[in-house]
Amino acid sequence: MMVFSLALRNLLRNRRRSMTTLLAMVVGLVSMLIFGGYARNAVLATETGYVQFHGHLQIQHKGYFKYGSGNPVAYGIPDYERLIGAIKNDPVLRPMLVVVTPSLRLNGIAGNFTNGVSNGVVAAGVVVDDQNKMRKWNDYGSLTYSPEIALGGTPVDSAVIGVGVAHLLQMCGPLKLSDCPSAEETGASANRDLAAPAAPDSITALSLAEQTNTPAASPTHIELLAASVQGAPNVTGLNAVRAENWGVKEIDDSLIVMHLPQAQRLVFGGAAPQVTAIQIQLAHTGQMAAARVRLEELLATQFKGMPLEIHDFATLAPIYTQVIQFFDSIFGFISILIYVIVLFTVGNTMSMAVVERTTEIGTLRAIGQRPGGIRIMFVCEGFLLGVLGAVAGIAIALPVAYLINHSGLTWAPPGYSYAYPVQVRVWGDHGLVVGTALSLTFIAVVSAWWPANRAAKLDIVDALRHV
């Protein structure tokens, strides 16, 4: 018959106890699915963010990643356009590619000499259209914060600066930033006056004369000082068209994005322009391994003499791997706790059932039920508890996840200056849902195994005598 039918009827025999056990399983499963869905979303959103800004793969000069990030001159890639052309025209790579774009990163000092302030910055020279195309990559449908670079159609000396840079350079007014106190309000101007030694009268007079003879600088004008290819410092003038919240305070306080030709002129002057990285964005992250293999072949054959290396986004952004490990460890800890709770709850329920039904076990054995049949009967009850708990848990977790996703809750991850919507990715994540449900059902079966085994080994006469 009816092993499952009998198991179900036996579970319904003590409905309150079965419901309590199911409730424990449902709460456990919902917790696992909600946290798992949240962690999954965080990992995918993090991946999406990095791929949108840096691409899946980057080709860099050998050693640049470890030692050369502040030295574009020593670690530049010459003849990069030929390399990009080869990648774009490669028949194996072409179907996988979304964007292949050069970028040049450099360290420098940005100054707003109208206000007499300067600050160390990291400047990125980029191909704006390519970068904005990269921002559109969203293979997982994540809600990410990835503002486009507002440099489309702007003159070559235009730049977008981080809101922190705007604060530091006292450009809040011209760039229309709110919540931005003036230097006088923060007392910074008083400190500056105190700290600055008084200039000789002759110098002050010369400065005044120079200022009257030159046209007034734009309030959004900044000077960017960086080391050039000859080793001497070079300066370029930039016009900040917008202050952008990049989402991370450290980046907000230091990043200036500019047109690639302007950055190349600053560093390389009249020499052949170079870049520090070629960013490659693929259609899908799953293509990364194949693309990398092909790129290595390409570099080893067509660009044999060039000291280049390939890095994926997980290497370039170690925090990505750390985020995964962080969430995995918490999810693992929560899972173990819930498995232990389910193990003892189901085990206790089945143990009580065995004690209560000892006479029945004796009767079944007397009329010819094999010990294995008794064992299967109780294991099936555990299995059914697991399946019912899993189904009910999934049925509850889905609307709970929906409510969370539409609740408007936000949070700013540690170190971030932008509050992200809280999202839980349960629907569609079959691996998480099926894996969690199966593991919980398996735990329920394991929990039932020991009481079932004890029931199967009962002496028939003792069982029949049981009161």
Partner: protein, 162 residues
Amino acid sequence: MSANELSDFRVRHLGFIFQNFNLLSVLSAYENIEYPLLLAKVPASERKKRVMALLDAVGLADRAVNLPGQLSGGQRQRVAIARALATSPQLVLADEPTANLDSETGSAIIALMRKMQQEHKVSFVFSSHDPKVLAEADDAVFIRDGRITGVERHEPVLERSV
């Protein structure tokens, strides 16, 4: 014999009737009788035929779908007798089959057991403290404190001390 072989022997050759009926409370009268046939792997059509015949024989054809909790004591014991006979055993062991029944129902159960014994050609061995029940037995073995104190055959009566 192994535990499995003993189980298989019991399901094919022995039937059991208990003082407290020991029916599976979650199964209907029909399913309780069917259970040993499932253990004996009797085909479904044959099972149905046999169960219905037994229900009819014990006068409970109209209570097939009732759970034990919906039956009287006498009806439960009749279901238990039908279950004991389901696999056509050679021997049915009954432990005080009338102890939990009133005298009228007990007499009816004994009469039923006698009828089944004759119709199914099966031996019934039962224990009882009730002299009226013992009087219905063909042979009686008297046990006191775990020792056989006498054997009685109604026609002719053989008595000996052990």
